[in-house]
């Protein structure tokens, strides 16, 4: 997802409430077959979460995903199970498909579905369900369709009930990641074609093959998930312990925070702390004890205009990168829980190289030296472009001050026109380096607004993109190393968030790729007695 100058952060924040175990429910709730209560047998396994922080979902139809309503994925990915599923390291693992193989030339992917996959009405999951959905996604004008098209998918087919085949134009190492995205969920052709516009709005027709199913949807207020009675534990994916998940639609993060912290324990069981409350949480011992930090797959950087002097010189760009005190930046502008970084790919996903770009870190003396080495005259001013909002102005002013105090540079602020510097970033569409490197920094990349071009980098990326298997990560590491030597952008920080979790919530895994904290591994959460 492109975080350009305008919308550096997806404007609607995603906040997630912790699964809260609320009221005690009677055992009757567990009457549905196949639901295991686990070790905490006498505690009602119920939680309330605020996943839908953008309010009423735009659409829960997997093929109708949109960038603006990314949090809807938190619900969809728990109701549907895709061919592959991300594990804790964000590597796609077999899920609905028990195995898959890639042809020697890398253009054919064959997925073998497991025989015990079931829809929430008991029907078996068959390959033509995937075929129907993938065709529908590729044919739609949905915002995510280009991602799938960019992978070069030329055709999908279902030769038999348990075999699903995907053809790609050229080898695409990222196809397994795409197959694990919630837009690629299977769909029931009969229900969807019968009610093309309304099948996803009514719990009765909203059939899924995932660990949970939708039992109730009070529009504008909340929806309720209960375990899918026909879902079975398989391939390491467990049966959900929770018996009921109430998903709230609170759009005001402050209100969600107030509900969490109020004395009555009727609010969400975990929430994403709004940025303005981070300090008050960290200053409160009991709240700090309940908090957990995690970073998102988001990197923010200082984008530089590689075409214009003086920043068309690599040394000058490196100097700028060394002039930024990232720790101070995070403290002043990013609530203090974000993580400074010097490379583009964020931690937590495949492709992250720890310590990469350390020579780009804060070093005022080194920066000055590099600047004079580059023959940079500090007399000529640089232009920093920002969007005309007070918060953007604040950020621009921070950089203006920093560059002036470290390097003695004059930075002018402008809201339009040509620029030398601007604030930018990127957020992962899927946790694979392919989403970060080629798409952003390739010479002809669609999202390359920096006029950066390094043929060596392009070559490395092109090779990596078309390799599958163990060699991929090595090639991508090389490509990223090359990129960090070229310094087209000065990486600043990975966005970090703070989550408050009630003490009775157990086994809550926070993943950087969560649409909402806790949504990726919701089926593992349990509630302790309290």
């Amino acid at each position: 997802m492109w975080l350009g100058v305008r919308n550096v952060i997806p404007r609607r924040r995603s906040s997630c409430a912790r699964l809260a175990v609320t009221a005690t429910m009677c055992v009757a709730l567990f009457a549905s077959p196949g639901v295991s209560v686990g070790q905490s047998a006498n505690v009602p396994q119920e939680v309330t979460v605020n996943f839908l922080t953008q309010g009423e979902p735009d659409s829960l139809d997997p093929n109708r995903a949109s960038f603006g309503y990314a949090v809807d994925g938190a619900v969809v990915r728990n109701v549907f199970e895709t061919l592959l599923r991300f594990d804790e390291n964000l590597v796609p693992q077999p899920a609905a498909a028990e195995s898959y193989e890639v042809s020697l030339d890398g253009t054919t992917y064959t997925f073998h579905l497991r025989a015990d996959g079931r829809w929430s009405d008991g029907q078996p999951v068959i390959a033509s369900d995937f075929e129907f959905s993938w065709r529908r996604l590729l044919a739609s004008k949905n915002q995510y369709a280009p991602l799938f098209a960019a992978a070069g998918i030329t055709g999908v087919s279902a030769p038999d009930d348990l075999t699903f085949v995907v053809q790609v134009k050229q080898p695409s190492g990222a196809l397994p990641d795409l197959a694990a995205l919630w837009m690629a969920a299977p769909l029931r052709p009969d229900t969807v074609t019968a009610n093309p516009d309304t099948w996803a709005t009514d719990p009765a027709t909203y059939l899924g093959n995932g660990p949970f199913m939708l039992s109730e949807w009070v529009h504008g207020d909340h929806l309720t998930l209960v375990p899918n009675p026909y879902y079975t534990a398989h391939l390491g994916w467990p049966l959900p312990t929770l018996a009921k998940v109430t998903v709230l639609m609170e759009t005001n993060p402050e209100a969600a925070y107030a509900a969490y912290t109020s004395a009555s324990n009727a609010g969400p069981d975990w929430i994403l702390v709004p940025d303005q409350e981070v300090n008050s949480v960290l200053n409160d011992a009991s709240l700090t004890a309940e908090s957990r930090q995690y970073n998102e797959l988001t990197t923010f950087w200082l984008a530089m205009n590689n075409a214009r002097p003086p920043l068309n010189n690599t040394l000058a760009r490196r100097a700028i990168s060394k002039a930024i005190d990232r720790a101070a930046l995070v403290r002043d502008l990013a609530t203090g829980v974000s993580i400074p970084t010097t490379s583009v790919i964020p931690p937590g996903m495949p492709g992250f190289v720890s310590g990469l770009g350390h020579d780009l870190d804060f070093d005022p003396a080194g920066a000055k030296a590099l600047l004079s080495q580059a023959g940079f005259s500090t007399a000529s001013p640089l232009t920093f472009r920002y969007t005309d909002t007070p918060s953007d102005l604040r950020r621009a002013q921070w950089f203006q001050d920093q560059l002036s105090s470290t390097l003695g540079l004059t930075v002018q602020l402008a809201t339009s026109g040509d620029y030398d510097l601007t604030f930018g970033g990127w957020s992962a569409d899927y946790p694979d380096p392919q989403d970060w490197l080629g798409l952003l920094f390739g010479c002809k990349a669609p999202f390359n607004t920096l006029t950066f071009c390094d043929p060596a980098f392009d070559q490395l990326v092109a090779r990596a993109d078309t390799t599958s298997g163990a060699d991929r990560s090595g090639l991508y590491a090389q490509a990223q190393t090359q990129l960090m030597q070229d310094v087209p952008v000065a990486p600043l920080f990975n966005r970090g968030r703070l989550v408050l979790i009630k003490p009775w919530v157990d086994s809550l895994k926070l993943s950087p790729f969560d649409d909402c904290p806790g949504s990726l591994f919701l089926d593992e959460v349990r509630i302790l007695p309290h």
């Binding site: 735009d58 960038f67 996803a200 709005t201 529009h219 504008g220 207020d221 609170e250 009555s264």
Partner: protein, 305 residues
């Protein structure tokens, strides 16, 4: 009398036409289309959507098609939630707003009227001054301010009741108070003034001189006459509650019609804006009609042209 009622009902029609016309014109005058939101759409998709929402037809035709739909109870499809119709969306919010308004009205009546009566019958005593103070203070404090002060006091210091949402009785307390207290104060003032006014009238003296017991005096003569100005003002009070609920819903994150309208405006969801506005106008006009008719029944002195 019946002629009056019929005429008043017929009057609803030009009002609603006017409201819909103005809203429709204003919506279509605004620069930028409904699809210029965060999600850019391709030209093909835009053309499809335009056809579906009749945006490719001339404005007057769009308006007539829309009004035709309204008469059949169809308020059109929502621009934001493309799977749902505006009628459905609004119907979800109606019970919430209605219960908020009803509870606030109840609070206003149950607190305001008796307080006013007591204050008037015990004029110039402590309780009278308290009532006047209450009436003056809270009638001027905007619901806005009251809501936030309550949130700060209750949430921060007392942690007693939730400050958002709707559905559990504890969540009703703050919003209903915020909305209703203002009107309760107003009703206190009006009731007190009206009761004082009536009790000075000659017929009251007559009634007492006749030897009627005080209780009967109050019941038969005082209350009925004093209620008239209250009923007069009930129309504006109810209208205020309905419109004020818009603000209260924003403050307390209550999923009612007011919040839908604000959402619709920020998302440029034209049909949602039109639908909610028409609903508001219709309900307020209807309430005013009911109040006027009730007024005519209560006060036999009133004759209507």
């Amino acid at each position: 009398m019946t002629r009056f009622i019929i005429r008043r009902i017929l009057w609803l029609v030009p009002v609603l036409v006017f409201v819909s016309l103005i809203t429709f014109t204003l919506m279509h005058v605004t620069p930028g289309g409904p699809w210029d939101k965060e999600k850019p759409v391709s030209a093909q998709v835009q053309a499809n959507l335009n056809a579906r929402y009749n945006l490719d037809k001339p404005a007057w035709q769009q308006y007539l098609l829309y009004m035709q739909g309204v008469l059949h109870g169809d308020l059109g499809p929502s621009y934001t939630y493309q799977d749902r119709s505006v009628t459905d969306i609004i119907l979800q919010g109606v019970p919430t707003t209605a219960s908020l308004g009803a509870l606030a009205a109840l609070l206003a009546l149950v607190v305001g009227v008796p307080l006013g009566v007591i204050a008037a019958t015990r004029q110039n005593t402590g309780i009278d001054y308290a009532a006047i103070g209450f009436g003056t203070m809270f009638a001027s404090v905007p619901t806005f301010v009251l809501g936030f002060v309550l949130i700060i006091v209750v949430a921060l210091d007392l942690h007693l009741v939730p400050t958002s949402g709707w559905g559990k009785p504890t969540q009703y307390i703050l919003p209903v108070f915020t909305l209703g207290l203002n009107q309760a104060a107003l009703l206190t003032r009006i009731t007190r003034a009206s009761v004082l006014d009536v009790s000075r009238q000659d017929f009251m003296r007559t009634a007492r001189a006749k030897g009627l017991r005080e209780v009967l005096v109050v019941q038969r003569h005082l209350l009925k006459n004093a209620l008239i100005p209250i009923v007069t003002v009930l129309g504006p009070v109810l209208a205020f509650l309905l419109v004020g609920s818009l603000v209260v819903e924003q403050i307390f994150s209550i999923p009612g019609i007011g919040r839908l309208l604000v959402q619709g405006i920020s998302q440029r969801d034209y049909s949602l804006i039109m639908g909610t506005t028409l609903l508001y106008a219709f309900v307020i006009a209807g309430l005013n009609l009911v109040v006027d008719v009730a007024y005519a029944f209560i006060d036999p002195r009133i004759t209507y042209r």
